[in-house]
Structure formats: C-alpha cells, structure tokens
C-alpha cells in the first residue's frame, strides 16, 4: 500500500449519498422528529449539520451553538450562522457560562489550574444540554467526531463523543475536508485550524504534535495492518513518531468502548452479549 494523498481520496458523491441515507434511515427507524447537534462553527460539526439538513430537511435539524466566556469566538459564531443560513436549519445559541461557573463553584475539589479537567466539564455540559433537547423534542443526537480524533482519543469521554450516531466517524480529518468542500461548507471553515474549545488558544494539531495530512496517512497505515517501520520509511518520518501515534491509538481504546466489566455470568455486556443495533 502506498501512503499518499491518493490513498485518502474518496468517491465524494457516493460518500455523501451514503451518509445522507444513513442519517435519514436512522431517523426513520427511530421514529425521531429530527436531529440535534452541537454546532461549534468548526469543520466537523458544520459538515454534519450540512449533511443532515440535506438528508432530512433543515426544518428537522436543530443546531445548538454553546459558547462560554473563555473560548467564545466571534468568528466561530459567525461561521455557525453562515452554515445555518446556507443549509437552512435552525440555530439556537445558549451561553453556557453560568452553568460552568455553577459547576466550578459546586465541586469542592475544583482546581482551575487543571485546564484539562476543567475543559472536559465544558464538553460534558454541552452534551447535557444537547441531550435535554433530544429528549424534550424527540430528536436524535448527531456527533461530530471524525476518525483521526477518535483513533487518537482526542475527545472528551462522555462529552463531544456522546451521540446516537456519528456519521463522520469512519472518515479521517483530511477526508472530512474533502467532503466538506464537496457539499459546499464555506472554505473559511474548512481552512480554519481545528480546536476542541476546551481552553483559550487550544489548537488540535499543536496539541497532537502533528499535521493532519501526516497523521491521517500514519493512521491509514495502522488501519491497514502496516508495521510502524514501514509507515515511517514511506513517509520519511522518524520511527518514533509513528510508534508514538500507534501507542496513543492503542492506549485510548477505553475511550471508544462501553465500560469494561468483569465476566461473571453466561453472557456479558460489552463482551459476548452480541445484539443487533436495532433502534426501537
């Protein structure tokens, strides 16, 4: 397998059609009235919002913009509005700052210097509000997670990853960029650096320590059972870079699975209790 840009190229129309049908089919099977999603103004959530509006109609899509004082970005808010107008879905903005302050004040062990733990509260607070709307208005929650970030464990457990379906989870970030351009997500959103918005100035590529163009090729190699040395040779990288990515991918399996349990009985949840994913 040759690891280059071509290896990540998609049949974009086919992928678009498949994802639209996937969203439409799931909404239909669950009998939900529509979908809800957290629109950050970034590429992943904008792409999911645009796909779902074209799949089931913008009138059935509720996007929630959930800014808070530390990471509020007028550019992101403007981008969210731009996508909502272009793809004609409803956008509601809720400032979650009071909720967060209340958490920070209520938790005795809270330490503002621990920005990761604090940032995760933000992602989980967004999830709580999103699911409130889903319950209240009979909507399913669409997640924005892509394959690069999910493989890296670069998300908040039970936070931004929490969803009923995640249409982009089998597409690497650079593939999401291709798809976004194909379906007409504005270029400025596609080109903007990704951020999980957990603290001010947080940038995904800086934190991951690698550009998505390279990361995606490494992950594609790992997906295809290639040895780290082979990947490193092909991409002209030090083997330690590929090994570091591989170790991070493997060590984050706990974030991608149902909670691990001890096998005690006949059939065990998450182990050998194998049931079809058949919405009620």
């Amino acid at each position: 397998m040759i690891l280059n840009e071509d290896a990540l190229r998609l049949d974009l129309q086919l992928t678009t059609d498949r994802l639209r049908r996937f969203i439409r089919d799931y909404v239909k099977k669950t009998g939900a009235k529509g979908v809800a999603l957290n629109l950050s103004g970034g590429i992943d959530s904008s792409t999911v919002a645009a796909l779902s509006a074209s799949a089931i109609g913008g009138h059935r899509v509720l996007a929630l913009s959930l800014p808070e004082e530390e990471t509020r970005s007028s550019t992101d808010i403007q981008h969210s509005q731009m996508v909502a107008e272009k793809f004609r879905f409803k956008l509601e903005t809720i400032d979650i700052t009071p909720v967060l302050k209340s958490y920070f004040k209520t938790i005795p062990a809270f330490d503002k210097r621990d920005r990761l733990s604090k940032g995760n509260i933000k992602a989980r607070a967004r999830m709580i509000i999103l699911y409130y709307y889903a319950n209240r208005q009979s909507r399913i929650v669409l997640g924005p997670s892509d394959k690069s970030e999910t493989m890296m464990g670069y998300f908040t457990k039970w936070g931004d990853i929490a969803a009923d379906i995640s249409p982009l989870m089998d597409l690497y970030k650079t593939q999401v960029r291709q798809l976004a351009a194909h379906i007409g997500v504005p270029q400025e959103i596609i080109e903007k650096p990704s951020t999980p918005q957990l603290w001010p100035g947080q940038l995904a590529e800086k934190e991951l320590g690698i550009r998505y163009q390279t990361l995606d090729l490494i992950l594609l190699g790992l997906e295809n059972f290639m040895a780290p040395k082979e990947i490193a040779d092909q991409l002209n990288l030090p083997p330690s870079v590929v090994t570091r990515i591989k170790e991070r991918w493997l060590s984050n399996e706990h974030k991608r699975r149902a909670p691990l349990s001890m096998k005690i009985q006949y059939r065990t949840i998450g182990a050998d209790f194998r049931l079809p994913y058949n919405p009620p």
Partner: protein
C-alpha cells in the same frame, strides 16, 4: 392435470422469466419480511415471473447476532417455510429465499440456508459452505458450514444455489455446474465495501462455467452497514442482462433462454477443457497452506 405454470413453461421449453426481489429486510421481524416477500412475489407475477429469488437471510435480516438462535427454524417443517410455501402455491411460482436453519437433531446448530420452493411446495435447500468470519462478519460464531452442493431438477431446468461469500471460492460454482446446473442463483447480503468484488466475481462465475448467474443482494442499512443491492442477472457470456438499483429496494425481471448455453459453451468451452488431473494437486497444496 397440468398446473398453470407447467402450461406457461411448456409454451417454450427452456425459456422462462426470473425475478430478483432486492428487499431491505427488517432485522428480527419475520412477519414484516414475509409480508414484503409476499408483495414482491405478487409484483413479480404481474411481470409473469416463473421464479423469484430473495437475498441471503432475507427472512430475518442479516445482522441478527445472538438473536440468530431465537429466529432459527427447521427446514422445511418450520412455520416460515410453510407460510412461503402457501404463497408459492397460490401464486404458482418458484421461490428462493434465505433464512437461519435450526437443526432438528441439535437445536443450537444453525445453518445459513437458501430454501427452494416450487409451485407444488418445498423442493430443497442449500447450506452455505463458506462462512465469512473476518472484518464485520462473524458467521462462524453462529453457523455450521454446509458440506453439500445439491442441484435441483425442476420445471425450470437444473438449478444450483450458493450464498454470498461462496462466490469467492470458484470450486462451489464449478461443482454445481459439473452436476449440470443451468441457472446458478447466488443469494447475498453484501455490504457496500465489497461491491467491486461481487461485480467482478458474479461475472467471473458465469464466464468460467458458461452458466446463467442470478445474484440477488440485500438493500438497506443494518448496523451501519449499507447493503448495496445491485442484484443482477448475468448471461453465460458474462454480460449483465438486467441489473437492479444500488442500495435501495427494487425488483427486476428478465427472460432466461437456456438455448444460449449451447451457443456460449461452444464458443468458450471451459467445461470441455477442464483438467481433472490438477485437482489433486489443488487439494494437496491447500492442505499445506
């Protein structure tokens, strides 16, 4: 007394209409799926079809996982086979469909089975020989493989059946054809990532055996798997006579004329040119793999 279908077929020997019912089965809902099968049969009869085939595990849906045990039924004594028999008798049509078969001797022994029913009732069955257990497939976890390659002498000629992944192993089709199969029906539940393989393999099996191939695939989405449909009827020369839509529910029908077999077999005499002396080597080398 001749049945209506016998009269119809006799109007031109070796020529009949086959339909493929590309349905999107509902997982675990046999009642709904039988109703869908029934509607497709009625529609196929309006197209004057003499035979209709439905996809692999069309009775239960494909991704049933542990529910396989509760959804399994014996063949042919189970209620679902009996119900489809009644429909076939009423509509005077041959029907092939896929289901989970429960052994009469050991109730947790299951097979992935294709059932053939004629206008007079049950004719026979084929149990899938090659059970994919890789990638998203976990068939060996639930099913025992079949060991037989039966062919069935029917009013529509000699029919052979195989199921999905069997098509990757040319010896299944070859065995069925060496036993005289004129129409090879491959019922399938193939998800979208495998589309390219099947488009090639279905034509290959037709060409290398100079046989008619009818490939009927599931449509719809189960557990995030898009079954790609694309069912097709293929001439012994490998050309696609008729093809169904991709991904969605559909029904197609085409005329089969067995007189084409002689023409193609004279033109590409693959069966005449078979070399049995190399088959032992094949077995020896496979054992050493």
């Amino acid at each position: 007394m001749e049945s209506k279908q016998e009269k119809r077929i006799k109007s031109k020997l070796g020529e009949f209409t086959i339909a493929l019912g590309q349905i999107a089965s509902k997982v675990g809902d046999k009642k709904y799926n039988i109703e869908t099968i029934k509607k497709k049969i009625a529609q196929a009869r309006r197209d004057k079809a003499d035979l209709i085939a439905f996809p692999e595990l069309s009775l239960t849906g494909y991704v049933v996982r542990d529910r396989a045990y509760e959804l399994a039924e014996p063949v042919p004594t189970g209620a679902s086979v009996r119900e489809i028999e009644e429909i076939a008798k009423k509509e005077q049509i041959h029907v092939i469909f896929g289901m989970i078969e429960k052994s009469l001797k050991a109730s947790a022994v299951l097979h992935n089975t294709a059932v053939l029913i004629g206008p007079d009732g049950y004719i026979g069955k084929y149990q899938k020989m090659y059970l994919p257990t890789h990638s998203v497939f976990e068939e060996k976890r639930y099913f025992r493989p079949g060991y037989q390659t039966p062919v069935f002498e029917t009013k529509l000629g000699t029919l052979g059946m195989m199921i999905c992944y069997d098509i990757y192993f040319p010896e299944v089709a070859r065995l069925l054809c060496l036993k005289g199969t004129q129409l090879l029906v491959c019922i399938s539940a193939s998800p979208s990532v495998r589309k390219g393989f099947f488009e090639t393999l279905t034509a290959a099996r037709a060409i290398e055996n100079t046989v008619f191939v009818a490939f009927v695939n599931l449509a719809g989405i189960q557990d995030g798997l898009q079954f790609w449909g694309g069912s097709r009827i293929i001439a012994p020369s490998g050309s696609v006579i008729r093809q169904a839509k991709y991904d969605e529910d559909d029904l197609i029908a085409a005329r089969i004329d067995y007189s084409d077999l002689t023409r193609v077999q004279a033109w590409v005499p693959t069966l005449r040119d078979l070399r049995p002396e190399i088959f032992n080597s094949l077995r020896d080398e496979t054992e050493k793999l």
